[in-house]
C-alpha cells in the first residue's frame, strides 16, 4: 500500500471529487446507441444482459415443462406426439442445464464479483463480451431447432448409440452436441475471467480470509468448470466425429464402447450439479448474513466444505451408472464417496442454522426464499443419499423418483436461492426495489406449487413410473397423481409469472433503493445503486471481512489510479497487496464479430467438416482485429 501513498482523509477526497468523477465517468462509460451496446465491455452491462437472457431461457423451459405436464395429465393423452414429446423433454433438460442454470450463476458472478472484490471491471472484459454472444448463439441454435421441429430428441445426456449416427439420423443429435460446444466455450471463458479477477484484482487488504463467501463459491465453481468442461467437450466432439466423419469411438461393433460416452459425460455431468449448486451456497451465505445482521457463522468450515464438495464432485460420476453393469467393487467405492458428499453439505446447513440461531431473522422476501431453500434442499439431499446406494438405485434409477430428486436439488437448491438473490441484489442492479407484497405472493405460490408438483413424483417413481415416457396406460395407478402433479405445476408457474411481472414492473416503477437498502456488509453496497460505470470512485481498502459494518460510512480508500484511462489495481494473490496498475481494455466491436464468425463455423460444421477449415478464416480475421495492438497512453509517456 506504500506504493499508493497515504490513505487520504475524507476531506481531501471531497475537494477534488466533482471533477475527478466526471473524468472517471468519461473514461469508463459505454458509448450510447446500437454500436455501443454491441461493443461494450462493462461487466455490469454484460452481467445484466446475461442474467436477463438466462431468465428468458428459464421462462421458455418452463413453458416446455407445462407442455409435458399437459401431455402427462391423462393416461394415453394425445395432445403431443411421441416425437414432439421427446424433443420437448430433451430441450427442456438441455435448456435448463446449459442455457439457464450454469449461465445464470456465472452471469451473477460476472455482475457481482468485480463489485464484491472492489475493482472496476472483470479481468479479460472483451472475452467476457465474447462469452455472452457465444452463449446467446448456442441458445438460439437450440430454440430455433425446436421451432423447426428438428430439435434433439435423445435426452439431455444424449446416450449413445441412441445419439450415434446409426440410431439418431438427421441433424438432431449434431445440434445437441454443437449447442454444448457453444455453451461450454462460453462457460470456460467466464470461469477463467472469474479466477483471474478473484486472484489478481482484489481491493488492497482483501486477503484470502476476507474474501466474501459468495466470491469463494464462485472461485470454487470456476475451478470446477475448468476441470469438468473439457470432458464434455471431448465427448461432444467425439460424437460429432462419429456422426460426421465416420470415426467409431462409441460403436461397439467396431471396437468402440457405448459406456465410454457415459463415463465422459458424467465425469462432467456430476460436477455440473455442483457448478449449479455452489454459487447458491455463496448466495445463501451472503443473504443469511444480511438478514440476520450477523456474519455468517463458520467462515472457514464453509469455505473448506465448498472446496471439499468440489473435490468430491469428481469422485462420484459412476453413481449415474449403477445399473449399467459395472463391476460391483467399483460401485461400492462410488456408493461410499457419493454418501460422503453429504458431510460437507451437512456442514453448510449446520453453519447456516447456527447463523439463524444467533442472529435475529428479518423476514423479507430473500429470507423467505432461504427458508424455502433449507426445507427443500434438505429433502433433496436426503433423497440424494438414497440414490447414492446401489441397491436402492436399482429400483429408482430412471424413474420419476429421480425426476423428483433432481428437481428438489436443482430448484430447491439453486433456483430458490437464485430468486432470493434477485430480490436481494435487484436494487444494486437497477437502483430500484422489488415489491415486498408481490415477493411474498411469488414465494408462497412457488414454494407450495413446487412441493405439490414434485413431492408426489417420489411416490410415482416407487410405484414404477419410468421417466421420459410420453404416455402411460390407464390400468396403472399413476393417473391420479399425474393429474394432481399437472394441476400443481400450474400453481408453480403462476408463482414464477408473478416473479417475472414483479421484475418487469420494478425495473421502471420500483421505489428508489439507495446505496445499501438492506444494511449489508460487503463492498458492492458501498457505491450508489445502480453503480456508476467505474464502480468505485476510489478503490476501497479492506480491513475486515465485513467492511461496511466495521468501517461505517467511510471506507478507507487507495488512490493513485489515473482518471483519463481505464486502470485497475493488480494485487498479490494471498494478501491482496497492490502490485501494479494495469490497463483495462476499451470497448470493442471485435468480440461480437468474433462470436458471429465462431458461430457460423460451429453451426456450419454440423453439415460439413470442411466448415471447420473455411470457417477458421473469418475467425482468425476477427481475432486479429480483437488483439490488434493499439497505442496505449503508457506508450506515450
Amino acid at each position: 500500500m506504500r506504493w499508493f501513498g497515504k490513505i487520504p482523509s475524507p476531506a481531501d477526497l471531497a475537494a477534488g471529487d466533482e471533477k475527478a468523477e466526471a473524468a472517471l465517468r468519461r473514461t469508463w462509460s459505454t458509448p450510447t446507441g446500437v454500436l455501443g451496446a454491441l461493443s461494450t465491455v462493462d461487466h455490469k452491462i454484460i452481467g445484466r444482459r446475461y442474467i436477463a437472457t438466462a431468465f428468458v431461457f428459464l421462462m421458455l423451459g418452463g413453458v416446455l415443462a407445462l407442455a409435458m405436464r399437459l401431455q402427462l395429465a391423462f393416461p394415453e393423452a394425445r395432445f403431443i406426439s411421441a416425437d414432439r414429446y421427446n424433443q420437448i423433454f430433451t430441450v427442456h433438460g438441455s435448456n435448463m442445464m446449459f442455457l439457464f442454470a450454469v449461465p445464470v450463476m456465472e452471469a451473477m458472478a460476472v455482475y457481482l464479483v468485480p463489485l464484491m472484490v472492489g475493482t472496476r471491471n472483470i479481468a479479460f472484459p472483451r472475452l467476457n463480451a465474447f462469452s455472452y454472444w457465444i452463449f446467446l448463439a448456442g441458445g438460439l441454435l437450440l430454440w430455433i431447432s425446436l421451432a423447426l421441429d428438428t430439435a434433439p430428441d435423445v435426452g439431455w445426456f444424449a446416450y449413445v448409440p441412441l445419439a450415434g449416427p446409426q440410431y439418431g439420423p438427421g441433424k438432431r443429435a449434431d445440434i445437441w452436441a454443437q449447442m454444448i460446444t457453444f455453451t461450454e466455450v462460453s462457460a470456460l471463458a467466464v470461469a477463467v475471467e472469474i479466477v483471474v479477477t478473484v486472484f489478481k484484482l482484489r481491493a488492497p487488504g482483501m486477503s484470502l480470509d476476507r474474501i466474501p463467501i459468495f466470491v469463494w463459491s464462485m472461485l470454487v465453481t470456476a475451478f470446477l468448470v475448468i476441470m469438468a468442461m473439457p470432458a464434455i467437450m471431448l465427448a461432444s466432439s467425439s460424437l460429432i466425429l462419429d456422426r460426421l466423419v465416420g470415426t467409431q469411438f462409441f460403436n461397439p461393433a467396431e471396437g468402440g464402447d457405448a459406456l465410454l460416452w457415459q463415463h465422459l459425460f458424467w465425469f462432467f455431468g456430476h460436477p455440473e450439479v455442483y457448478i449449479i449448486f455452489l454459487p447458491a451456497v455463496g448466495m445463501v451465505s451472503a443473504m443469511i448474513s444480511t438478514f440476520t445482521q450477523r456474519p455468517t457463522f463458520g467462515y472457514l468450515p464453509l469455505v473448506l466444505a465448498m472446496i471439499a464438495t468440489g473435490v468430491l464432485a469428481f469422485g462420484l460420476w459412476v453413481h449415474h451408472m449403477f445399473v449399467a453393469g459395472l463391476p460391483r467393487v467399483g460401485s461400492s467405492f462410488f456408493t461410499a464417496s457419493s454418501m460422503a458428499i453429504a458431510i460437507p453439505a451437512g456442514t453448510q446447513i449446520f453453519c447456516w442454522l447456527a447463523t439463524l440461531w444467533d442472529g435475529r431473522p428479518i423476514f423479507k422476501t430473500p429470507m423467505l426464499f432461504i427458508i424455502g431453500f433449507l426445507i427443500t434442499f434438505v429433502i433433496g439431499g436426503l433423497t440424494g443419499v438414497m440414490v447414492a446406494s446401489v441397491p436402492f438405485d436399482t429400483q429408482v434409477h430412471d424413474t420419476y423418483f429421480v425426476v423428483a430428486h433432481f428437481h428438489y436439488v436443482l430448484i430447491g437448491g439453486s433456483v430458490f436461492p437464485l430468486i432470493g438473490a434477485i430480490y436481494y441484489w435487484f436494487p444494486k442492479m437497477t437502483g430500484r426495489m422489488m415489491s415486498e407484497t408481490l415477493g411474498r405472493w411469488a414465494f408462497g405460490l412457488i414454494f407450495t406449487g413446487f412441493h405439490l408438483t414434485f413431492f408426489p413424483m417420489h411416490i410415482l417413481g416407487l410405484q414404477g413410473m419410468p421417466r421420459r415416457v410420453y404416455t402411460y396406460p390407464p390400468e396403472l395407478p399413476w393417473a391420479g397423481l399425474n393429474l394432481f402433479v399437472s394441476l400443481s405445476a400450474v400453481i408453480l408457474a403462476a408463482g414464477f409469472l408473478i416473479f417475472f411481472i414483479d421484475v418487469l414492473r420494478s425495473v421502471r416503477h420500483g421505489p428508489e433503493a439507495g446505496s445499501n437498502p438492506w444494511n449489508a456488509s460487503t463492498l458492492e453496497w458501498a457505491m450508489p445503486s445502480p453503480p456508476p460505470p467505474y464502480n468505485f470512485r476510489h478503490i476501497p481498502v479492506v480491513e475486515s471481512r465485513e467492511p461496511l459494518w466495521t468501517s461505517g460510512e467511510t471506507l478507507p480508500v487507495a488512490t493513485g489510479l489515473r482518471l483519463d484511462r481505464r486502470e485497475l489495481i493488480v494485487s498479490s494473490v494471498a494478501a491482496a497487496d497492490p502490485e501494479a496498475r494495469e490497463a483495462s481494455p476499451a470497448d470493442s466491436i471485435w468480440p461480437f464479430l468474433a462470436a458471429i464468425a465462431t458461430s457460423i463455423m460451429l453451426i456450419a460444421s454440423i453439415f460439413s467438416p470442411w466448415a471447420v477449415i473455411w470457417g477458421a478464416i473469418p475467425v482468425a480475421i476477427t481475432l486479429t482485429g480483437w488483439f490488434w495492438p493499439k497505442q496505449t497512453p503508457e506508450d506515450e509517456s
Binding site: 411421441a82 461393433a253 449399467a324 453393469g325 453453519c351 440461531w357 421420459r468 396406460p473
Partner: protein, 327 residues
C-alpha cells in the same frame, strides 16, 4: 424387518402393480426393506433439522451485538457434533446398503438360461438349451417357474435398454457390445409387469413386458408346448390367413416355426395366440386389436419398425384368425 410403522403406513399407500414397494421375491423384498429403512432414517433426520430451524427462527434472541465469542464457541461445538452425527448416520446407511447388495447377486454361479434381448421397442426372449433343437424364442412375455432362481443374460441389439420388473428385483441395463446378467426369483405365482427403464428412442414409453411366474409343473408344460412348432389351423378362415401371411411381406420379418416364415426383424409369432398382450404391452391380445394392429401399426405405435402391409378387410379377418390360432 419393518421399521417405523408410521412410515410403512405412508408408503403402503403406494403399493400396486409394478411397484418397488410390492415385493414378490427375495431380492425385491430386500430392496423394499432397504427403501423403508432409508426413508425412515432420512425422515427422522429431516424432522430434526427442521425442528432446529423452526426453533432458530422463532426464538429471536436479543439485539445482535457482535461479536459474541462465547456463543460462537458453544455453537461451534454443536455444529461439530452435528457433523459427526451426520458421519455416523451416513456410515450406517452405507453399511446397510452393502448388506442389501448380495440379494441382487443371488445364484451368480449358475449359467444363464434365458437370453433377453432388448430391441427398439420390444423384448426378445430366447430359452437356451444345450440341445439347439430345444431352444426357442418368444417375445414380450417371460415365463418363469416359482420358487427358483432364474438367470437372465441381458443383451441389446440396437441401443441401450433396461430390464426392470420392480416386484421381482431392481433393474439392469442391456448395453450393446456387453453382456449383463440378472437373477429373477418369484416367490409366488402371478403376472408381473415390467417396463424398459432406459430411454431408448421414439417408443420407449411402449416397451413393456410381462413376467408370468407359474408353478413348476405348469411351467414345464408351458415349456414343452412352446418348444413345438405351430400347428396347422383346422379352422378354414385361419388356414386362409396363413396363406395371406406367407404371401405378404409378413413372413420376411417374422418367424413361425413349422412354416416357411423365418424372418428375424420382428417378434417370433410361433405361439403368439397364447400371449396376453401384443406390441410390447400396448394392446390386449384380442382378435380385434390384432386386426387393428395389422391394419395400422404406425398410428397405434408411431415410428415402430413394423411397416403397414396393405391387406383387404377380408384378408385382415383371415390374418387375425390365424394369429389367434397360433397357440
Amino acid at each position: 424387518m419393518k421399521i417405523a410403522p408410521a412410515c410403512v403406513l405412508f408408503l403402503s399407500g403406494c403399493a400396486g402393480t409394478q411397484s418397488a414397494l410390492d415385493a414378490d421375491g427375495p431380492s425385491a423384498l430386500a430392496l423394499e426393506n432397504l427403501i423403508i429403512l432409508f426413508v425412515a432414517v432420512c425422515g427422522i433426520v429431516f424432522v430434526l433439522v427442521m425442528g432446529v430451524m423452526a426453533w432458530a427462527l422463532v426464538r429471536s434472541p436479543g439485539a445482535p451485538d457482535r461479536p459474541r465469542p462465547q456463543t460462537e464457541r458453544s455453537m461451534g461445538r454443536v455444529v461439530a457434533g452435528a457433523v459427526v452425527a451426520t458421519f455416523v448416520v451416513i456410515t450406517f446407511l452405507t453399511a446397510a446398503s452393502f448388506y442389501a447388495t448380495p440379494g441382487l447377486d443371488r445364484g451368480k454361479a449358475d449359467p444363464p438360461t434365458i437370453l433377453v434381448r432388448g430391441q427398439q421397442w420390444w423384448w426378445q426372449f430366447t430359452y437356451l438349451d444345450p440341445d439347439p433343437a430345444r431352444t426357442f424364442q418368444t417375445a414380450n412375455e417371460l415365463h418363469i417357474p416359482v420358487g427358483t432362481d432364474v438367470r437372465l443374460r441381458l443383451e441389446a441389439s440396437d441401443v441401450i435398454h433396461s430390464f426392470w420388473v420392480p416386484n421381482l428385483t431392481g433393474k439392469q441395463d442391456l448395453v450393446p457390445g456387453r453382456e449383463n446378467a440378472l437373477t429373477l426369483h418369484a416367490s409366488k405365482a402371478g403376472v408381473y409387469r415390467g417396463q424398459c427403464a432406459e430411454f431408448c428412442g421414439l417408443q420407449h414409453s411402449h416397451m413393456a413386458l410381462l413376467v408370468i411366474a407359474e408353478e413348476p409343473d405348469d411351467h414345464a408344460r408351458w415349456l414343452e408346448a412352446q418348444r413345438g412348432a405351430a400347428v396347422l389351423p383346422a379352422d378354414s378362415e385361419a388356414a386362409a390367413g396363413k396363406l395371406v401371411f406367407m404371401s405378404k411381406p409378413c413372413a420376411a420379418c417374422h418367424t413361425i416355426r413349422g412354416t416357411e416364415a423365418s424372418g428375424t426383424t420382428g417378434p417370433d409369432l410361433t405361439h403368439v395366440g397364447s400371449r396376453s398382450m401384443i406390441a410390447a404391452g400396448l394392446l390386449d391380445n384380442t382378435r380385434g386389436s390384432v386386426a387393428a394392429w395389422i391394419a395400422d401399426p404406425q398410428t397405434l405405435k408411431p415410428g415402430n419398425n413394423m411397416p403397414l402391409v396393405p391387406v383387404s378387410s377380408e384378408e385382415l379377418r383371415q390374418l387375425s384368425a390365424y394369429m389367434k390360432a397360433l397357440r
